[in-house]
């Protein structure tokens, strides 16, 4: 979201409080001082919220505190875990996520007798189905069992 902040100390903090109150995790802040227009400095924030509802509540809170929200766009991403029981190479798995999801953690365990891979990843709602189908295909091709998370 891009906020129009007056160039006064504490204004950004007020906006950040509303974000924190709604469980937002700030990924990046870009402060465009050179783009000052009409007394406002555009500040672009990239934030991760637990849900779309939290995003909407934070946006409303910021506006209610007198800070204009110049633009706001939400991209819904979910954090999920899958287990792949069987022997699978890390390269194949990482390649499959390229451009579709982001691996947060990758745990290989079970040793030679009963290997497994546990993958925690974030994925957008649009890419979720295709990513899970590709994971299933990969698991089946390698005689592995894919165990997805029940929502």
């Amino acid at each position: 979201m891009t906020l129009g902040l007056t160039d006064r100390p504490g204004t950004l903090l007020k906006a950040l409080e509303k974000i924190a109150m709604n469980g937002g995790n700030i990924i990046s802040i870009i402060h465009s001082r050179e783009a000052l227009t009409g007394g406002y400095v555009p500040v672009s924030l990239s934030v991760e919220f637990p849900s779309h509802e939290n995003f909407e509540r934070a946006k409303m809170g910021i506006e209610e505190s007198g800070i204009p929200v110049l633009s706001a766009e939400s991209l819904e991403r979910r954090i999920e875990t899958v287990l792949i029981i069987g022997d699978l190479s890390v390269d194949r798995l990482e390649r499959l996520f390229e451009g579709r999801g982001e691996i947060i953690s990758l745990v290989f365990g079970g040793g030679k007798g009963s290997p497994y891979v546990r993958v925690m990843f974030s994925v957008s709602s649009e890419d979720r189905e295709t990513l899970l189908s590709s994971l299933e295909e990969l698991a089946e091709r390698n005689n592995c069992l894919l165990v997805c998370e029940e929502a």
């Binding site: 029981i85 365990g109 497994y116 029940e150």
Partner: protein
């Protein structure tokens, strides 16, 4: 007086017969017991207390095909408790078809006939003015169908999911809490009488898939068969994989589901505080309702609790025969 017959006089039949001894005052008498070897018929009502465990040694036992009893109209209500064959529905399918075709009410715990011919049997029952009740086929004693059709009829079921097989849930529970291997947990379940000698249908997810088919057809108005279910069993689940789930506050459960016209059974990662995360032989069924949202039912999925479901269906038929008011 409703004349009741039981076809398939095994564990469940014996338990049910005992409960039916007190039904005479309620307008129902047990007149017929049949197994694969023949049948026993007493028009005035059988003396259950004095009956031997093995009916074929009883002096009045007739070594004929049980179909003869149906054809001769020896019962007005037939309880079909035949062993399940999920691939052709027999022998239960033929008995149910014949009984309904003669306007005889049917209560069954046999999943096979419903998985093979749900639409055919329900249409036949409707056209002959007979009732076909099958509460005992899914979730043991959990009142799935009666609850959905009566208490929830003002709302709409969007999807259904659940832990539908007590044997696999027992095995996965033992693997989760004790770190047992699947083989050891299975042996334990067999020793306790919770698993069949051939556990293939349970472990392979087929038993759960049959229940998903019945739920889909009975409650979501679909016309699905076993081959429409994407099935994965639990045979590849290892104690290490369950431990990996446990580290994140989850476990592995065999979940059956139907929604958006898709039917599936697969091992899934389930959070330990999830409503479907029940342990041991318990079953759990969750409806996603249009108005109410989620509704979860939990109960024992097998054994004596199944008798409760059969009795509920029998009570329903008695009420319909004495004062018919609404459809089932």
């Amino acid at each position: 007086m409703i004349r009741c017959g039981i076809i398939g006089y095994g564990f469940l039949g014996r338990r049910l017969a005992k409960h039916l001894t007190g039904y005479r005052e309620r307008g129902l008498k047990l007149t017929l017991l049949a197994n694969s070897k023949g049948y026993l018929h007493v028009e005035d009502g059988l003396d259950i207390e004095g009956l031997m465990e093995e009916i074929s040694t009883h002096p009045g036992f007739r070594a004929s095909h049980p179909m003869e009893a149906i054809e001769n109209g020896l019962a007005d209500l037939l309880i079909v408790l035949t062993p399940t064959n999920v691939y052709n529905g027999e022998p239960g399918l033929t008995y149910i078809r014949e009984a309904l075709g003669r306007g005889i009410d049917v209560v069954t715990a046999d999943k096979g006939p419903l998985v093979i011919a749900f639409r055919e049997l329900t249409s036949l029952a409707r056209s002959m003015g007979a009732s076909l009740c099958y509460e005992a086929t899914v979730g043991g004693g959990i009142p799935v169908f009666s609850l959905a059709r009566h208490s929830l009829r003002g709302d709409r079921i969007l999807s259904i999911r659940g832990i539908l097989n007590g044997t696999t849930n027992y095995i996965l529970t033992r693997m989760h809490f004790e770190g047992l291997t699947l083989d050891l947990a299975l042996q334990e379940a067999q020793m306790m009488g919770l698993a069949e000698r051939d556990p293939g249908l349970d472990l392979g997810g087929i038993d759960s898939a049959c229940k998903v088919v019945i739920l889909a057809n009975a409650l979501l108005g679909l016309d699905k068969k076993l081959e429409d279910v994407k099935v994965k069993g639990i045979t590849q689940v290892t104690p290490d994989a369950i431990l990996a789930a446990k580290e994140l506050g989850m476990t592995i459960k065999l979940v059956g589901s139907v929604g958006d016209g898709k039917l599936s059974v697969a091992p899934r990662l389930v959070r330990l505080n999830h409503p479907l995360c029940v342990h041991g032989t318990l079953n759990a069924i969750q409806f996603k309702m249009e108005v109410m949202g989620d509704l979860t039912l939990i109960g024992r999925g097998a054994g004596e609790s199944t008798v409760s479901a059969l009795l509920s269906d029998i009570e329903w038929i008695i009420s319909q025969r004495t004062s018919p008011r609404e459809g089932h």
